[in-house]
Symmetry: C2
Subunit: 368 residues, 2 copies
Amino acid sequence: MNRVKQEPETLSINLGERSYPIVIGAGLITDAALLDRHIKARNLMIVTNEVVAPLYLEQLKGALQGKQLHELILPDGEHTKSMSTLNQVLDALVAARLNRDAGIIALGGGVIGDMAGFAAACYQRGVDYYQIPTTLLSQVDSSVGGKTAVNHPGGKNLIGAFHQPRCVIADTQVLSTLPERELRAGFAEVIKYGLIRDPAFFAWLEKNAQRVLSCNPEALTVAIKRCCELKAEVVGIDERENGLRAILNFGHTFGHAIENALGYGEWLHGEAVAAGMVLAAEMSVRLGYLSAVDYQRTLDLLQISGLPIKAPPIGVNKARELMSMDKKVHAGQLRLVLLQGLGNALVTDKYPAEVFTATLQHGFADQP
Amino acid sequence: MNRVKQEPETLSINLGERSYPIVIGAGLITDAALLDRHIKARNLMIVTNEVVAPLYLEQLKGALQGKQLHELILPDGEHTKSMSTLNQVLDALVAARLNRDAGIIALGGGVIGDMAGFAAACYQRGVDYYQIPTTLLSQVDSSVGGKTAVNHPGGKNLIGAFHQPRCVIADTQVLSTLPERELRAGFAEVIKYGLIRDPAFFAWLEKNAQRVLSCNPEALTVAIKRCCELKAEVVGIDERENGLRAILNFGHTFGHAIENALGYGEWLHGEAVAAGMVLAAEMSVRLGYLSAVDYQRTLDLLQISGLPIKAPPIGVNKARELMSMDKKVHAGQLRLVLLQGLGNALVTDKYPAEVFTATLQHGFADQP
């Protein structure tokens, strides 16, 4: 195929009348023609945060021609993903007198995307929203699936909605200003996609981790696109999270316990997921589902990517309590995502309680 | 058909996998077998208010056998339909540690139904909910359509979601304890269904208004069932309010301006809708769409039902400003629901501005 390298890649997410494109490439947020093609609403509220705004807000506004633009700049960080900030977004939408034909642009990472998306889901019972994710994590993880939410003191993402964006514009160039720690944390989710569904992609990552982490544009585009494809495949089979989609939570049930115990934002989400994936993989080894060799490959890839492979000692009881609040508890039994070999995830609530306890004890035990 | 009179009527709302039944009859909230057939969730949060709770909460709980029950009793009134009360409901759901397989029962009028429904829509991104409407208004109006919402200081129902109940249980017996003023206000919506879509039903109402308003069980069942059928027909054609469904807002655009100007709750919703329907009918006469005779029949039926037929003098400018915030504004032009004869509603944004202004002046002008 004689594709010109600079052309952005476009992936179509097929969801009937809620289908939308994901456009991936370098320099997209200043491409006026591209934005005009994909962003139809004339009245727009751009929701962003105080880290992203100085870097990219004016660039984006300059490229959004012929639109009536409003903006809301929120504080940075996971604590922004709250009901009280949601109220602030809703107040801003009302104050701008936006009607049902208006749209919301989320310019930022997962926090901004999740919250602006939830605001779009419930303002006037649903208005259009457009995602411009500015972190690797949100480019690979929030672009597909339509999940929006805010946190509650009782648990992460407890309040939210399924609401699909009208389009996602993933500009790889903006990742060059992302702090290295955040880039690595996002890379944990990239590794997750290899682990749960694509052994060949996992092997590609083993070879190309450093290219991706040094923001090579071609490597980034390959990685982001492949993750979005894999997620789209899973979500296409199971949009509302009744079955297969649960595999996307690989590492997350353990990871959420870490984030919640330490307070959201202490560890980055991707860091908690990395340590959570190690625990899920370890439990898979204990159950005889995963070989020691493949467990070691998992550890190695996470480690060369600069990610944590050991959970903090939050204590077994605390971990168990936090995990029991997880949305994946059905009829009192916690469903877990485990690995049956690299590239093949398994969702199960059939496992001996003592294997789960042993995993928690090894992973979360209080320091001696 | 040799139907025993005491058997409840059941209407099926067909929405694919979100289909649900509406059961209408006397004494349903104490019918343990019926509740058991229709309410599947084992863990339930009953959301109700301090007027309804002393009357019916214990009766309902006694009939819900083998369930784990939680309850939340909120203040009565439209001011309860707020983001801050929504937070209270969500906090209660978290505190009860309810998971995704739990359910919410709304026991009360439209305020409780709309708010508990919205809480169900966004708790864990959607849990089941069951409606037990206890007012005539909510039995005819909130049972079909899946609209849930809370109010915002900037407008009514500005924050919400489409979320279908698992079932609706409309017990006509509970209407016997409803204050007469509320019963009459609910009857305004009953009249609306005749006006917008069923001239024969309108004629039936002209003859049977007093039977319905004196809580005759057969007359109530006929009226409630017919309204739900008519609404289901409209919503079945247009679930997400892109076209036909707008006719259900007949009288509401004018009515919301009244409610908002006076403060929610000063006039009952149905009272504001009654006066709003008169204005919409009057504008229809001005445009030559409705005959003077049919306009008079509309006034007469509202008047013998004890409903207001004259809007309060909130002023033309205030009315216009409040109506411009309406969700039905598209591209700056307010869409109105008018009548082309009794029983035939028309949605239009094509009308001379001066006819709209004349209607506002006649309806809302400040007192001299």
